[in-house]
Each structure stands twice: as C-alpha cells, then as structure tokens.
Subunit: 252 residues, 2 copies
DNA sequence: CGTTGTGTTGATATTAATCAACAAGTGTGG
DNA sequence: CCACACTTGTTGATTAATATCAACACAACG
C-alpha cells in the first residue's frame, strides 16, 4: 500500500474546490467526498487515508465488530449483508465506486462487507476523520445527504421485500441496475439497455429475499417472453425497458 | 392552532441549554431536537414551529408530494408507508414521540404518513429550518445521528422481510416494541413485559410483509404455546422474553 | 481429465395467501 | 332502547407461490 495522491480539479465555482481522493496503486479516483473544501483541507484528509485492495470474496467489514474505520470505495463492487445465526443472509445493498461505508454506525458495524469483484478503497481511521469533519460543516452536510439517499433506497427495498412478487423483484432490480449503468447523454429510459451483474445469482437472491433457483427461473421466464436477453449470466440486455419498469412498479 | 411555547430547562452542563418544543394546545413536549443550542437559538427555532393535531386515520404527508415541511412528533403514533399502484402497502416504520419526519427527502417525500391514534406534532417550514440549521452544526450532527439510526433500523427490517418466517417476524416486532415501551430502571430484559400495540392488525401486517390473517394466526399460536398472553388486541404480555428474543434472532 | 463451482431446469413440499364465515365491539338512526 | 350496519379480529378450508430437494450442463482450473 503506497501513498495516497490527492488531486485538485478545476474549481466548479470561484472559491470552491472539488475533492478527489484516489491511490497511486490502483489509479482509481473517487470525487464525491466533498465539493467545497479548501485546498489545505484536501491535504489533511488525504494524509489520513489508507488505500487498500481486496480480492473477490474477501471480507473487509465484520458485522458487530467495533466501527474503527470509515471506507470510501474507489472501484469494484462490495456486498453489504446481515446474517442470522443459522446462515440465512440478507444483502442490504451493493456498494460501488464512490460509496461510503461505515457512516451509519455509532459504535459497531451494523453489517458485514465483502468484495464481489476486485475492490479498491480508501480507509480512514474513524476518530481522526471525525475530528476533521467537525471542522468542515460542508462535509457533514454531504454525509447527511449520503445517508439520506441510502435511507430512501432502504425504504424502497422494504417495499420490494415486503410486498412484491418474484417477477416484480427481479424487474425492480434490473431497473435499478439500469440506472446505475452509466448511460450516454443521461438518457433516462433507452430503448435497449445492457445491465452488468458483477454479483452471482446467490447474491441477487440474498438481496431480493429469494432463492437462487427462483432468481434463475424468473430470469428464464422473462427471457422466454422476450422482455430480456441473457448473452451470459453476468449480462442482461433489457429489450423492453418500459414493460420492465411497469412490472417493477406493480403495473403489470 | 395557537402559539408555540418554548421552555428552557436547567442546563445539563454549563453553557449548554436543552431544547424543548411543544404546543400550548396539546401540552405535549419533545426535547430531542438538539441538546446544545444557545438560548436565543431556541427562541428562533420555536418561532417558526407550527403545532398541529391529527385524528386517527388522518394523513399529513402524501407520498411524492413536494417536501415543504419538516415534522417533529410530540405525542401519538404515525405510520409511514409506501404504496404500489394496486393498493399493496408497505409500512416502512412507525414514528412516535420525539421522532423527526421529512429528514431524508431531498425534494419530494419518499413515503406517506398517517396518524395511527391521535397525533400531535410541530411542523417547520423546510426552507426556513434549513437556513437555521446551517448556523448550528450541533443540530446538523443530531440530524445525521437520527437518520443513521433510522438506516440501521431499516437494514434490520430488510433482514426481517427478506429472510425471516412469520413467527420470527412477529417475535422480532414484539421484541422491538418491548424496547420502545419505557422500562422502569432501564432493565433490558424484564421477566414479563407488556407491549402496547396502538396500530391495527392491518398495520402490523403491512409492516411485517404479511396478511392480517397470518398475523392473527401467529399471535394465536404463540398465545397457545404460553409465550405471550393477549388480554385485548391492543396489548400483548410477553411471558417468556428470552424465548421470544431467541425466536426473533432465528435461534429457535 | 477429474474436480469444483455456478447456473439452469424439473419434481415435490411447505409456507403463507386467499377466500370464506363468524363473533364481538362500535356507532347510528329510528 | 333496540335494530342495523360496519369494523376488527379470529379461525377454517383451499389455493398459489416459492422453497426445497435433486439432477445435470457447462466452464474454469489444477
């Protein structure tokens, strides 16, 4: 693990500086920590960051362990999960580039985290980061915004888990993923979209509250209906986005 | 709706003042907005508060409507819910005395809110409150804390909805409610506890992702097993708290 | 070239939903 | 005051959806 390098980008507005953290090792960048920090603050933040890299399957947060660190993913996808004693697992979310982990944890982590594919991230000692944060109200506001977004997503997921059937769950998942996939020109609903699924069927099931068999069967049915195509298990082509969206919202 | 009255309590620490908001009309108090505001700040906050009262069943937040207000419940219980077009409903949480509503909403409310029993609350114009907040970092931190707690609860609920069976869901619900009921001396797990359920079976079902029939049947089974007693539909006596807790965590 | 992991598909079991009936409580109007 | 409608909760019978158990195809890998 080598030194972190911080980059000051061209100011979006006069007097404002965009923060970008990354690491020499992986070359990745995350630019969503805070948008209004002074140059010297960037420096102080970067100085306490520890860049790390994790292979697929590696765990980097253990549920219920003391929350000593704060994480900022720079590339790859991680699964965040809660477990029951008998091994039943619920994935509460997937965290990708730019996501924060360890925000909503007063003392102990409320969930575990594992790398889905190769994950690069920057780790910050929690105490030191918190002391820094206290000095930068803008950063605190950015964190509130981030946690709020997560909460909205969590509420949406509760609706899915509590009230949607298998087809609607898969459709909702694909629609959400479609939004995550970077779209050219920011078009909201392209005629045909490709969704990448870096996670295994097991993870999709544990995220949507169903078994791998039901995930597979439901995808198979949609494929037979011409709603989607599956060139390989990790890629889904959305052939009828409008129909999928309607299904996701229980309108079909 | 009359004037709001603000009360300055004896300072917990020198220089710190505890905030308490309430309304003359209902007499209720909520003292958890912020614990470290100067006296003049209390005054400014209280000046923009609008005390309101809602009868059982009344709606005071409509899903997807512009988030123009921020709410602080002073007494009673409200249900927060999301709906699908065909009427399926998921209650994302119950909000009681001291809870904040409308925090995690950038532009539009992500959920609707209705009074379960008689609800008294203080409403704050969002814009004006936000301007005030910007001046009080302590308050912003308190909000982050609140949203974080909600997020942790939401993740716990995802585990429940995605992976627990009917018995485990009901057990988890009762255990959670048990924690909410104020306990004398703060004892964590009393030998016998009483849980009040101000909400109807319909609401419990919509919260736990099951039908009213399954809620009723599951409670009936637990009663027959001697795990709980049901003096009337709105009160549950926990007769074997340890067994209930084990069941809630999937250990039975 | 066997081994292992992943995804798919089929047959069966199980859980909870649905449909239905009814009891008890509540409010209304005559 | 009673008759009535209406709501809520409970329980029973049946159905439907998904889980479970099982087999197998296929790719990756030593």
């Amino acid at each position: 693990m080598r030194d972190i390098r911080e980059t000051a980008m061209r100011p979006a507005q006069p007097g404002a500086m965009r923060l970008e953290t990354g690491c020499d090792q992986c070359g990745a960048r995350a630019s969503n920590v805070c948008s209004t920090l002074a140059f010297k603050d960037l420096d102080r933040l970067a100085r306490i960051a520890e860049p790390m890299i994790f292979a697929p399957g590696q765990s980097f947060i253990r549920e219920s362990s003391p929350a000593e660190h704060f994480f900022n993913i720079t590339s790859g996808t991680a699964r965040l999960f809660k477990m029951l004693a008998d091994g039943r697992q619920q994935i509460t979310g997937f965290a990708g580039e730019g996501h924060f982990l360890g925000l909503a944890v007063p003392t102990a982590y409320a969930y575990g985290a594992e790398a889905v594919d190769t994950v690069r991230l920057c780790r910050y000692p929690r105490q030191r980061l918190m002391r820094l944060l206290a000095e930068f109200p803008a950063m605190e506001r950015r964190m509130l915004e981030e946690v709020s977004n997560e909460l909205v997503a969590a509420q949406e997921q509760m609706l899915l888990l509590g009230r949607k059937n298998a087809r609607e769950r898969i459709a909702s998942f694909l629609v959400r993923r479609m939004a995550i996939t970077p779209l050219r020109h920011g078009v909201a609903l392209p005629r045909i979209a490709m969704v990448r699924l870096p996670m295994a069927r097991r993870d999709i099931g544990d995220y949507l509250g169903m078994t791998i068999e039901t995930v597979s069967r439901t995808l198979g049915t949609m494929k037979r209906e011409g709603m989607i195509a599956i060139p390989d298990p990790a890629r889904i082509v959305i052939q009828r986005p409008a129909a999928l969206l309607a299904l996701a919202n229980g309108l079909a």
